[in-house]
Symmetry: C2
Subunit: 351 residues, 2 copies
């Protein structure tokens, strides 16, 4: 989890401490030693005697993930640490049912703080029907909340990876992007967006303080996905990872932003593409669907009230090797002025 990238993307500032090593290097080093599967995915799978356990672990770190000047209180931060983990399950269409939580507390932590953290964990557990069955508390230099969730799928169920999209597939997102960067700015400084309407400002702030994972949609529609991924590292980074794992080119024809956001960005001279593709921390599902499943999948989404948006299609990467080497995600500018490569540089915890 993290909260800082929006700020970075808008101002080029770095509020939170970063390592000098890149996240990819770190993960690759660990995976080289531990072995196992090398294609990163949102969840892990463990075959047992009678089924397959699905699991994921996610950590909220005070110095990295909680804005220093307030806005995200401990209760909401703790809730969000669970939601972030649920969102990975949503992307894979698996229901998390149980959880284990480890909590590090600094010596400045008060009993009220602990009550807030536990209340936030309870909020999320109630929302998603998760039972916390194991826990651990430790003293440390800062608050760290690690959430490990478990669920189960039948052994014969198809697992949808981040790769797997085929030429001709359609690219969708489960909801609009671009609010989080503005929301964080508003939380850090109440006066940062004087022109925003109260409705708009509330929606922007809530995208940071009260994100919602698209669990029911993921569960209902995973059977149609050829590939999928949780988008919390940012839309461009997510699309890039999926395109590269599939070996094909993702061509984007529509920027998934609400009318309100488009209007606001235009009125303030803000870069809409930056907000949408490089904001990050949107807990949406990015997924690809074979054309043949398009209509039935949209029908299911409408029934569930999921505001999905079709944003592009998958092109054969093998016919254009130079293209995919240089960039695997392109945005066809809506005004017909050509196409722009979307770099995969999304959030890197250690960037």
């Amino acid at each position: 989890m993290r909260e800082g990238s929006q700020d970075r993307s808008l101002h080029g500032e770095e509020h939170y401490k970063k390592s000098h090593l890149g996240e990819k290097t770190i993960i690759q080093t660990i995976q080289n030693i531990l072995g196992g599967e090398f294609k990163p995915d949102d969840v892990g799978y463990a075959a047992t005697v009678n089924g397959t356990i699905v699991t994921n672990i996610d950590t909220l770190v005070q110095s990295t993930d909680i804005p220093p000047s307030g806005g995200l209180d401990l209760r909401r931060a703790a809730r969000k640490s669970v939601v972030a983990c649920v969102s990975d399950f949503a992307a894979k269409g698996a229901r998390p049912k149980f959880g284990a939580i480890s909590l590090n507390l600094a010596d400045t932590t008060s009993l009220d703080d602990i009550t807030d953290i536990a209340s936030g964990l309870r909020d999320a557990s109630n929302e998603y029907g998760i039972r916390i069955v194991a826990g651990d508390t430790n003293a440390g230099q800062e608050m760290v909340c690690t959430v490990c969730l478990f669920g189960e799928i039948s052994s014969d169920r198809r697992r949808v990876g981040r790769g797997g999209a085929l030429p001709g597939d359609l690219i969708f997102v489960s909801g609009p992007f671009g609010y989080t960067a503005l929301g964080l700015e508003m939380l850090l400084d109440r006066n940062s967006h004087p022109g925003a309407s109260e409705t708009f400002a509330t929606q922007a702030r809530r995208s940071v303080t009260h994100p919602v994972a698209r669990l029911e949609f993921g569960l209902a529609c995973v059977e149609y996905f050829s590939s999928s991924m949780d988008s919390s590292d940012g839309l461009a980074a997510t699309l890039s990872e999926m395109a590269q794992q599939s070996g094909h080119v993702f061509e984007i024809n529509r920027i998934p932003a609400s009318k309100q956001l488009i209007r606001y960005a235009a009125s303030k001279g803000l870069d809409l593409k930056k907000l949408v593709f490089y904001g990050g921390e949107e807990y949406e599902i990015v997924f690809t669907v074979p054309k043949a499943h398009r209509d039935v999948m949209i029908k299911r989404a409408v029934e569930l009230g999921a505001p999905i948006i079709e944003i592009g299609n998958v092109r054969d990467g093998t016919t254009d090797e130079k293209t995919i080497r240089e960039c695997s995600v392109y945005l066809n500018e809506p005004d017909g002025t050509g196409r722009t490569g979307l770099s995969g540089a999304g959030w890197d915890h250690f960037g």
Copy 2:
């Protein structure tokens, strides 16, 4: 996990940062809010469609668990973070098969450090046959390694709790205690124990740097246990928790120390009881067994090469209510000089 208590118990010093809140208060506060089961146990259970998932989460924190002046390198520390979690499974006779790991790294972390940490995780995974299926890396103020392990037991298997001992049951430990406090002193200061033989010093240091969980013994003998608990919070604290959860009195007749340790403590004027009962971080199983199972259980232990020690028996707590209110664990002094109450004050992460 932690490493500091030995030092505290021997010198009354506090090397590592502690919160002003007690661990029991913190856990009780969280449990009051989250609901669920209120009797602390070593692992959590989650019923699935076809079985029961057993899980546990354990965290190693740099500032709390790694001695500041060296001795426990990152590879050994990472290995130990897994062993600590395995030990909880051992106490409950369940095999951990899969793991999810979350790693926070400070910005001072080098690629060599990461290689060491991953190597330590691999060491433990190989030793205990665990496959890491999910992971997460984050930037933070200090190194934090959270290990969540899980396994499966059949739904109809009896679960052995920390409580459950009945009057007349025998009390055992799976191996000798008392080396860790000395081992830590030796690691912190090479010259702290000039009189110790090399064999003795090696054993003491290895009890800190290379602990081993009694997994095979726990798996083979759990069927005989009426109650059991991992002893890493210290022997007195473990006995006290088990006695209180059972509602009976634990009477200890033998101090589970090796001849070498008894001899060394006597020659140096060290308090043997303090070393054994209040050292902590021994990854042994403390368990109670009905008398009728004594011989068959000992036979199994001998076959497995587990150096179990019978240390006492369970007395009816209901006949002596005043006693159990005041103290639930007593040591009958070996020299016949009477009995000593063993307070439950073991390790408290926030003590």
